[in-house]
């Protein structure tokens, strides 16, 4: 993600806007495939060790989430645009949360009428 400007610069050298867009799409897709690959690798490894008692994974997850949320906080704090627009982002976030929750509740209500 943070290498994107360099890639854009390279794309400028090799020519045209189309190239910039293409490079962005390719680096995006690669990122997603890498992430999915790691999940799938994890699932297989977890399944291989299914008969062993392994409890430390949840602790590892917790610590990695702490670290990443700390880094996310720093990244937000360093970005003046995000900091000054925080209330706008907060309002949009609230809208999405409200409609998403309401949508899921309607789904559950329709199912509830069938099972009741």
């Amino acid at each position: 993600m943070h290498l994107a400007p360099i890639k854009e610069f390279e794309a400028c050298l090799t020519g045209g806007r189309v190239n910039i867009i293409l490079t962005n799409i390719i680096s995006h897709t690669n990122l997603m495939y890498t992430v999915l690959l790691f999940i799938i690798l994890g699932i297989f490894t977890g399944f291989l060790f299914r008969n062993q008692k392994i409890t430390f994974v949840n602790k590892v997850i917790t610590v990695l989430i702490w670290l990443l949320l700390f880094l996310l906080g720093a990244e937000v704090g360093l970005n003046d645009q995000v900091v000054t627009n925080f209330h706008v982002l907060g309002f949009e976030a609230f809208l999405i949360a409200l409609f998403a929750t309401f949508g899921s509740v309607i789904g559950a209500w329709l199912l509830w009428r069938k099972v009741k």
Partner: protein, 200 residues
């Protein structure tokens, strides 16, 4: 509850260090968070693959209730889609944020990597709001939308933070349903977020 507060305090400390420029900007340039993310994804995958005991309990769930995670996911995405018409965000943006299902830590991290810090911040806040809404509205939802409604509202959090409230308002007989729903929704989050972000 305590776990959420610890997670949020890590975010808050990072935020303050960033705002007052105590955190060195150069640290963000090494894609360090991406490598940590890969480690996190591997561990999340590992915990999904390594749960034969949990899965065995789910056999007692009535056949129709098995579809609850599906109605939650479809309902969440359909509901959130309305927001596309209310804001300037693309469908991909809005659906990615909603795909967090209340799992704010993982979804905000993933969305920041895929779509940048602005949408990542929205994802963090939106999914915290969802968890809070699910906690606060539980008694109201049971009354007007049935005993499955608080479970759906809780999204991916129904096996941890919103679990006690659900058991209290929907009843003890819904505790396995709640864990099952949280389990399935939780593991669908990284896939749904990735899928939504790849929409053009």
């Amino acid at each position: 509850m305590k776990a959420s507060l610890i997670i949020l305090s890590f975010f808050a400390v990072g935020l303050l260090l960033g705002i007052y420029r105590i955190f060195p900007v150069q640290w963000l340039e090494y894609e360090f968070s991406f490598y940590v993310l890969c480690a996190l994804m591997f561990s999340v995958g590992f915990s999904i693959g390594h749960q034969p005991q949990t899965v065995k309990q789910f056999k007692t769930i009535p056949i129709r209730i098995v579809f609850l995670p599906l109605t939650t996911i479809v309902g969440t995405l359909a509901g959130a889609f309305v927001v596309v018409f209310l804001t300037n965000h693309s469908a991909s943006d809005v659906l990615a944020v909603a795909s967090g299902m209340g799992y704010y830590s993982l979804s905000s991290i993933l969305i920041t990597q895929y779509k940048g810090i602005e949408l990542g911040t929205i994802a963090l806040l939106a999914n915290i709001f969802r968890e809070v809404l699910a906690l606060l509205l539980a008694p109201f939802l049971v009354k007007y939308f049935g005993k499955l409604a608080p479970i759906a509202a809780g999204g991916a959090t129904t096996m941890d933070t919103t679990f006690p409230g659900i058991v209290r308002y929907s009843g003890k007989e819904f505790s396995i349903v709640s864990i099952y729903h949280g389990f399935i929704t939780d593991l669908s989050v990284p896939f749904l977020v990735t899928l939504s972000c790849s929409l053009l």
